[in-house]
């Protein structure tokens, strides 16, 4: 883990609420090794109602540019301030935090299921799976077409399927209603998004004895295991989502009990 200043290289608005920030270390510092599923804690400045850092998934890494992508949805004052950062401005990060998705050791049929801005860590995972020589399908869901983000980036690494609640892209409904889940047999599922979506995906996987990892989005203060605020109740007791997660195997969770 490190505490480093970064500079904003670009800030692109992807829809009404979501921005893609591409950032690089302020000086000549090389990025530490990072893995899909890990996150950063962003210091928010000049926001009177925001005291704590904001945990944001690592969306993508471009090693040759020494660059991290952060997908940020403006849901409150803190994330809005982050979305307002301009090119050249500085931001302070703690990184990399948390554990990561398990890259399988064998080829297989892998499915990545993301909802809304929860697709963020899945793009980095998609790239890693692709680099490992694996093929993966991506099932991305959202309220509407504009909420299905970074489609052209995902397309580089596998086959895309969509669901939207208003039917504006792909199948109408939730991700777990997509016919893909009935038609194809998967070996492992990775998911990140709103908790009800992840619960539905976990239930689908559990009922079919498919391995599945979820990425939690629990409220947290520190992000590195000191405050014990972000706990998830698991079969082995309370664990910190920030250090023992955010990625957990569904067999550890008590959601389906």
């Amino acid at each position: 883990m490190k505490q480093l200043d970064f500079t904003v290289r670009s800030n692109e608005q992807l829809n009404d609420q979501t921005h893609l920030l591409k950032v690089a270390p302020w000086g000549n510092e090389q990025l530490p090794e990072m893995y899909p599923g890990q996150f950063v804690q962003i210091l928010v400045e000049n926001a009177p109602h925001t005291f704590l850092r904001r945990p944001i998934s690592i969306n993508f890494i471009v090693p040759e540019k020494n660059e991290i992508w952060l997908l940020v949805e403006a849901v409150g004052e803190g994330t809005r301030k982050i979305c307002e950062l301009r090119s050249g401005e500085r931001l302070n990060l703690l990184l990399p935090l948390g554990n990561s998705f398990t890259i399988p050791s064998l080829p297989g049929n892998y499915l990545l299921v993301g909802g809304g801005v929860g697709t963020a860590p899945l793009l980095f995972l998609a790239k890693k799976l692709h680099e490992s020589g694996y093929t993966a399908d991506f099932l991305l869901g959202g309220a509407s077409e504009k909420n299905i983000l970074q489609r052209s980036d995902f397309k580089k690494y596998g086959t895309l399927y969509y669901t939207t609640e208003d039917g504006s892209l792909g199948e109408k409904g939730y991700v777990t209603h997509h016919p893909l889940l009935q038609d194809k047999k998967y070996d492992f599922i990775f998911t990140c998004g709103p908790k009800p979506m992840m619960e539905a995906v976990a239930r689908y996987a559990s009922e079919r004895a498919i391995g599945c990892e979820v990425s939690l989005e629990n409220l947290m203060a520190c992000g590195f295991g000191a405050c014990l605020c972000c706990v998830e109740k698991t079969k082995r007791g309370h664990i910190c989502a920030c250090t023992e997660g955010p990625v957990l195997d569904i067999n550890e969770l008590t959601w389906l009990d």
Partner: protein, 294 residues
């Protein structure tokens, strides 16, 4: 107990120090108050346990820890070599719990002090209940004093009418120092869902929002007791630290701000050093209680 400098870190905000070694040199600070430790393991309260507030946060962790035996067997061997004072924060539901937990820490060479937590607002039994009456605060202090020969610090709750009475009561029973303040009992409500933001409804408020009240209490207690006062409550920078020392604190604990900048405590050490140089003061001890009231 002699400190290399007055800057320490507050229990519950600094884990066992281990969590911070990537971010700072633990050898730069005066001491570390480790996570609240109880006789038996505790799972703590249900999630959600935290709610952000302007300039602060509420927590309702509820003393999650693996118990004193785990601390002695698994954690102590790791932290005993840290180049700073390691102080264990002891909590319990009964006087007997406090005594039994403290006894297990006697003889640990690198634990020169314990901090009796009679001020945790997030547990159903014990905790703050001991710290809100002079008689129970005195009783638990005396009982632990009788078994613990090292430095005994008692951590006071601000959720009382007159904190100086409690401070005097624990001083009379043999406390070597008092630390204050623990968190303020508060609550947060989600207007949309009409539900509390914490699973326990109420929790402990900390951070810069409590600093002026904590500062006032440190000042009052400094004038009420003869033992050293350890000040805390929203300390985030060297100016805050100097203010607490001027109000009467012999030493300080940096708490919630560790979460935002994990190297806060080292920056405060450096800031105090620069302040002393700039004002040509030989020792920070000259500033203790040196508030000048015109």
């Amino acid at each position: 107990m002699k400190l290399r400098n007055p800057v320490m870190t507050a229990s519950g905000t600094f884990g066992y120090g281990t969590e911070y070694t990537d971010f700072m040199d633990l050898g730069r600070i005066g001491g570390i108050f480790v996570k609240g430790t109880t006789l038996e393991p505790r799972q703590g309260n249900d999630y959600p346990r935290m709610a952000e507030t302007p300039s602060g946060m509420l927590n309702a962790v509820g003393l999650q820890n693996k118990g004193v035996d785990y601390f002695v067997e698994q954690i102590y061997p790791v932290i005993k070599d840290y180049n700073t004072h390691m102080i264990v924060n002891v909590s319990g539901s009964t006087v007997e719990d406090y005594v039994a937990c403290s006894e297990k820490l006697v003889g640990l060479e690198k634990i020169p002090a314990i901090e009796l937590n009679i001020s945790c607002p997030n547990v159903k039994e014990g905790g703050m209940a001991f710290g809100t009456s002079c008689s129970s605060a005195a009783q638990v202090t005396r009982a632990v004093r009788d078994v613990f020969p090292g430095t005994l610090i008692v951590k006071l709750t601000p959720n009382v009418t007159d904190i100086t009475e409690i401070a005097r009561a624990v001083e009379a029973e043999g406390a070597d120092s008092v630390s204050l303040v623990n968190t303020f009992l508060g609550m947060a409500i989600d207007a949309e869902s009409r539900r509390p933001k914490l699973s326990t409804v109420t929790g402990g408020l900390s951070g810069p929002c409590i600093k002026p009240i904590a500062l006032r209490m440190v000042w009052q207690v400094y004038h009420a007791v003869s033992i050293p006062v350890i000040g805390m409550g929203g300390i985030c920078n060297w100016q805050d630290a100097i203010e607490f020392i001027l109000a009467g604190a012999t030493a300080l604990q940096v708490g919630t701000c560790n979460f935002i900048d994990p190297s806060t405590s080292v920056k405060i050490v450096e800031g105090i050093e620069e302040y002393l140089l700039r004002h040509q003061i030989d020792s920070v001890t000259e500033l203790i209680g040196a508030l000048e009231i015109p």
